[in-house]
Amino acid sequence: MTAPRTLYDKIWDDHVAHEAEDGTCRLYIDRHLVHEVTSPQAFEGLRIAGRKVRAPEKTVAVPDHNVPTDPTRLEGIKDEQSRIQVEALRRNAKDFGIELYDIDDDRQGIVHIVGPEQGWTQPGMTVVCGDSHTATHGAFGALAHGIGTSEVEHVLATQTLIQKKSKNMLVEVDGDLAPGVTAKDITLSIIGKTGTAGGTGHVIEYAGSAIRNLTMEGRMTVCNMAIEGGARAGLVAPDEKTIEYVKGRPNAPKGGQWELAVTYWNTLQSDESAHYDQTVRMDAAEIPPVVTWGTSPEDVLPITGSVPDPESFEGGKIEAARRSLDYMGLTPGQKLNEIEIDTVFIGSCTNGRIEDLREVAKIMEGRRVRDGLRAMIVPGSGLVRLQAEEEGIAQKLQEAGFEWRMAGCSMCLGMNPDQLSPGERCASTSNRNFEGRQGYKGRTHLMSPAMAAAAAVNGRLTDVRDLM
């Protein structure tokens, strides 16, 4: 009789390929997603050492970070450095036998949207990518986290990662969400409560009825931002919704193997009375629509609130908050729903899925983007884009005043032409509000797609419930 184990314990145990006496493990990696920005040095390392990719069939490559999102990209990427990186990815994929979804492929998109969409991501797997938002895949009950380039090279060469086990953290959200409150509000509220270092050294398991009630898209939004809470990985135990989502996707198990896989996936829940090193509980009914006011994702407040006074914080946060307000051009006491914006960005691996676009379309029904505002929608993948066009959402949103773009990371990180100008203020569905993140001196307020749509209508941060 083994001791009760958490979901993380179970996936971990099933992937230890080698354990040294001091507890250092080689964790076997089932899926390795590769993009153009964090992989060139890794492939260069392999070439110099004369090494091969150990399991190219478990590896998939897609350019996303610095590809432009306007259709002219198909005529060639103008920025030379970006073009070189995308070309390097193309060459590396070809030379090492890795499947690539290139920029002219409908399946191209943000790596964390493409992985699940193509069925590469499955419950119980270990998934890595040289990108911190790999945590997204945890929504399937896969142990998924971001790694650095040296680790990318290590995984390419050995299909393992040198790891020591993290601690277990349980975040339980029970109850029903109020109207206008979404997965994004849940995940931001958790970070607001625990802080950006609250999950450091831990793997978070998200549980409770409010998480169960989310769609797979919503669960991906929640897990995506585990990293902003300091945790390298977030997990949701698989259930019927998970299995239903994976079923029939291009790389999902087929035939008799499907049944075998489902039997295994059904064992992937934490045992009752399994031990967690830390537990956080939240009541879903008490979560309001939220926005960020500062330059750290923990700077979260209800939209009904006001810009805080830096003096209301403690320790190093006082100076950090002062710096944030100066950067953001805000004054203490200013009402959040009176902050005027210049730009609306809807997209990213956090909120670039079909459900997010439907949410925006719902709020925009019979309304228009306020005059003078720049508003863009960047579908997370070519397939999301096509689906939105088939559903008629794309046309409606364009008529409402949104730009309709090709898939990519776009303005989430401003490595491509989609960037904020100095002082430009953006209502954004992305995941980070760091200084300069969306463009030099750009000002980011994080929020849900519904809240971003409401902001687009009014030209200022807006409580979406006022439009419902």
Binding site: A157, G201, R232, G414, F434
Partner: protein, 202 residues
């Protein structure tokens, strides 16, 4: 990877909390396909104005700290993106050790792959070293990895904890891939064979 044994040098104070990897190396410099040369853009948007002129009051622009080898930083250093360009930029600038109360996991891990030593110390000790660092170029600290100590300019010694495997790799400048191939290759083969039977859909 360059070995890390003992380091003596000037420590620069950066008391700001939550210094993220976008601050350490902004995204426009991630377009390189090399590991080297990022030091000139370390903390770029804090260090230079839009025209490329140095911002005088940024710590690494002050005469005392231009040759800094150590950073003493506020809580949760290195949070955000997984970019290994952050430790590459620190290393290329000449900084081989960062001292803080806490580090983000991915950054912490990335440091060890590049011969950069992140040291976690309790708040009071980081505060004391921060004060020490604020004294400028006279405040030279010594970090001894073998002994696991930081010695402040006034001779005060602080011990730190470090994972023995990581210490071993850093002291000897070991290449992870070579190490895995040497010690674990048979186990990985066996694991793959075992899994092919137990979970054939993978």
């Amino acid at each position: 990877m360059e070995k890390f044994t003992k380091l003596t040098g000037v420590a620069a104070p950066m008391p700001l909390v939550n210094i993220d990897t976008d601050m350490i190396i902004p995204k426009q410099f991630l377009k390189t396909i090399k590991r080297t040369g990022l030091g000139t853009n370390l903390f770029d948007e804090m260090r230079f104005d839009r025209d490329g002129n140095e911002i005088e009051d940024f710590v690494l622009n002050k005469p005392a700290y231009r040759e800094a080898r150590i950073l003493v930083a506020g809580d949760n250093f290195g949070c955000g993106s997984s970019r290994e360009h952050a430790p590459w930029a620190l290393l290329d600038f000449g900084i081989r050790c960062v001292i803080s109360t806490s580090f983000a996991d991915i950054f912490y891990n990335n440091c060890f792959k590049n011969g950069v030593l992140p040291i976690k110390l309790p708040k009071e000790q980081v505060d004391a070293l921060m004060e020490d660092a604020e004294r400028g170029s006279n405040a030279r600290m010594t970090v001894d990895l073998e002994e696991q100590t930081v010695t402040g300019s006034n001779g005060e010694v602080y011990g730190f904890e470090i994972d023995p495997f990581r210490k071993h790799c850093l002291l000897n400048g070991l290449d992870d891939i070579g190490l895995t191939t040497e010690t674990a290759a048979t186990s990985i083969d066996a694991y793959e064979a075992r899994t092919a039977e137990q979970r054939p859909w993978l």
